[in-house]
Structure formats: C-alpha cells, structure tokens
Symmetry: C2
Subunit: 218 residues, 2 copies
C-alpha cells in the first residue's frame, strides 16, 4: 500500500492497449466499490475485465498501482455526475435540487453501496499515504464546486456574505458523507435527506437578515 501515483516512465500505449487498460480499471472500480479493495482479488479483476494476468501486470505494477487508477477513475466518475448540478449552482433552490437528485439516487438503491470516494476513503486513508493524498485532493476539488456556488449565492444576497464559502462547503460535504454512511446502515435515504436538509437550512438561516430577495432561478 505504498505505490506512487505517477506512472514511472510514461510508457507508450497503443489505442488497443488504452482500451484494455480502461476495461481493467473499470472492472476493478466496480468490484472494489461493491466488495472493498481488500475484498477484491486480482483474479476477479482479470475475469470481470475479460483480460489475463499478464495484461493486468503489464499495465499496473502491482495492486497499489491499480488502486491508484481506480481512485482517479472514481473521482472522475463522481465529478462527472455532480458537475451538471454544481457547475451552474448559484441559488439555494439549486442546492435543493442537488439534494433531491442525491436523495433520489440513494432511494433507488435502497441505501446500498456507499459513496464511491467515501468508501475508498474509509478503507485506504489510514493504510496508504499516497491514496490518502489523492482522496483528500478529490474532496477538496469537489468542495471547491460547492464553495463557488455558495459564493454566487452570497453575491445574490441569499447567503450571509461574512460566512466563509469554503468552510460551509466542507460542512455540506461532511453532511453528505455522513448522510451516505447512515443511509447505507439504515438502508434508507432518510438519513441523507435529513443531513442535507440540516446543512441547507443552515445556509438559509444565515441569510435571514437580508432575505426577501426575489429568488431568481438557478
């Protein structure tokens, strides 16, 4: 659990090779999300990706290197799914729509499976420093979208301008991750709903001074 994050000599890679590599990472990401990193074997990855042992070790030095690639892919996946909601975020209504999408998403799965990043974080953070750094950077990047949105809300006067957007973003992120965990344990979307409602309600409360703003659409 101590491999590097950067590819060693930036080897050549044909289009076919890139495709194979991608199939491997994708299969590994799915398996690890479902069964955990420790609970996923290299043989399982080989079978699920329809490749062979030699290919796996051709593209990845060892399991740690594969895990690193998986973290990066999951980070990209999550951001891809969140970006449409967060990119233009500029109102509390927008945030509430984000909340609704998440609650719906979890409700469909009856709470099964955790956050792709959160579950990796919980398993790897104490066991691999490079993984921890990567995961932490992912959280930061993710929060920066929320912070940017909150800043826009402040400009509109929906949120108290004296509050620190980055700190609020961290608080919302914590509510999200904690809500996910509790929803997973309860097999219900309700804890997530309550957690995000609490966090969002907090933003509104900060705005009570100069409210009565004409609430434009997000």
């Amino acid at each position: 659990m101590t491999s590097a994050g950067a590819e060693p000599p930036a080897r050549r890679l044909t289009a076919r090779g890139a495709l194979t590599r991608d199939r491997i990472v994708r299969a590994a990401a799915d398996l690890m999300h479902a069964n955990g990193v420790a609970g996923t074997t290299m043989d399982q990855v080989v079978e699920a990706s329809g490749t062979s042992k030699s290919q796996l070790y051709h593209y990845f030095e060892d399991k740690d290197a594969l895990v690193t690639a998986v973290i990066k892919m999951q980070a990209a996946r999550v951001m891809e799914r969140q970006e449409p909601h967060l990119e233009q975020l500029s109102s509390v209504q927008g945030l509430r729509r984000w909340r609704d999408a998440i609650v719906r998403f979890i409700d469909e799965r009856h709470g099964a499976h955790g956050c792709e990043i959160g579950s990796l974080a919980s398993e790897l953070t104490d066991r691999s420093e490079p993984a921890r750094i990567l995961i932490n950077a992912t959280f930061q990047h993710w929060e920066s979208y929320l912070a940017a949105g909150i800043r826009r809300m402040q400009e509109r006067g929906q949120v108290d301008a004296s509050a620190d957007p980055a700190e609020l973003a961290t608080g919302i992120m914590a509510a999200y991750q904690g809500g996910y965990l509790l929803s997973q344990a309860a097999r219900s979307a309700q804890p997530m709903a309550l957690a995000l409602d609490l966090a969002i309600r907090n933003l509104e409360a900060l705005a009570v001074h100069q409210d009565r703003a004409p609430e434009a659409a997000s």
Copy 2:
C-alpha cells in the same frame, strides 16, 4: 460474512475463560480498527491476544462471529466514552462542550483512525446483513442520547419546539460521521470542527425565531 449474532447454546464459561475471551475480542477490536476487518488475520489476533488458534475457535465459531463480538465491544466503548457528555446534555452549551471534546480527541490523533463504529459500518454494511443490523442499532441508540438532550433543550426553550429531536439527532450524527471521514482524509480536526459547528449553529438558528416550515423530509 453471514454468521448469527446470538450465541448458539449459551455455553458455560468460567471466569478464566471469560477473561481469555475478552482478551481476544479486545485485541481483535484494536487490530480491526487499525487495519480493517479484512486486513486483520486470525493469526494476528492470536498473537496480539497471547492466546492460541484453538482458543480463538473455541470461543468463536468463525471470523464472522468474532467480528460480531468486536462490533458489540466497539459500540460499548464508544457509548462509554460519549455517555458522560451526553447523559446530562440539556443545553446548546453542553453540546458545544461535546463538540470540543471530540475535536480535541481527533486533534490529538491528527485525524488518524476513524470512528470505531463508522469504519466498521463502511466496511461491513454492504457485506453482512447481521453486521449491518447491529451497526444500525448502535447508531440509533447513540442518536437517542442526542435526541433526548435536544428534547431537554426544547423544554428550556433553547431549540424550536416544533423541530423533531430524532431528526435533528440524525443530522448531527451525520455531521459527526462525515466530519470524521473528512478529518481522517485531511489529517486535521478542522473538517470535524466545521461539520459540528454547522450542525450546532443550525440548532441555535431554530431557537432565534420559529421560521421555516417543519420540512416534511423525503
């Protein structure tokens, strides 16, 4: 990962035997907290507890049974540590003292290691239904202490009486768990501080004025 939670025939147990059993569970709990359940081997437990393979399998049918015992012990440990703060909780100040104790606790460890229950939850919740049920019950029990405290705050008029204490407790618990995860990834107590501050600020806000409709959650 599918063993039962109840001991089969409630076997006899001498004082000496109970002591040995306890040493095993204690060692297993520490190892699993540090290295995860999957990352802890039975041989490690044997060595750390100073016992032998036959003893381990004398007291526990298999690894799942041991994990069940570990969950119960960790639940007891956490509650034991929290009870002094939560037992008499009846004011926002008291809640803030609770927050301070937690932040200090995490700060000492520089964020390393997660919540004893939270990390078990993340790893086991999707992999073992009996474990999930046990863990969920632990969260419920834990939240009930918070809820009772919030109810007392309502009686004192510190918190809006129309808010549901159980729902607020779930929100605070989510902030706690999420804050823990982010603090672990960031190796800093700050995310936990921000998360709990956000949650507590929310209670206060509810006390200032009875705005905001009761929010029928998902």
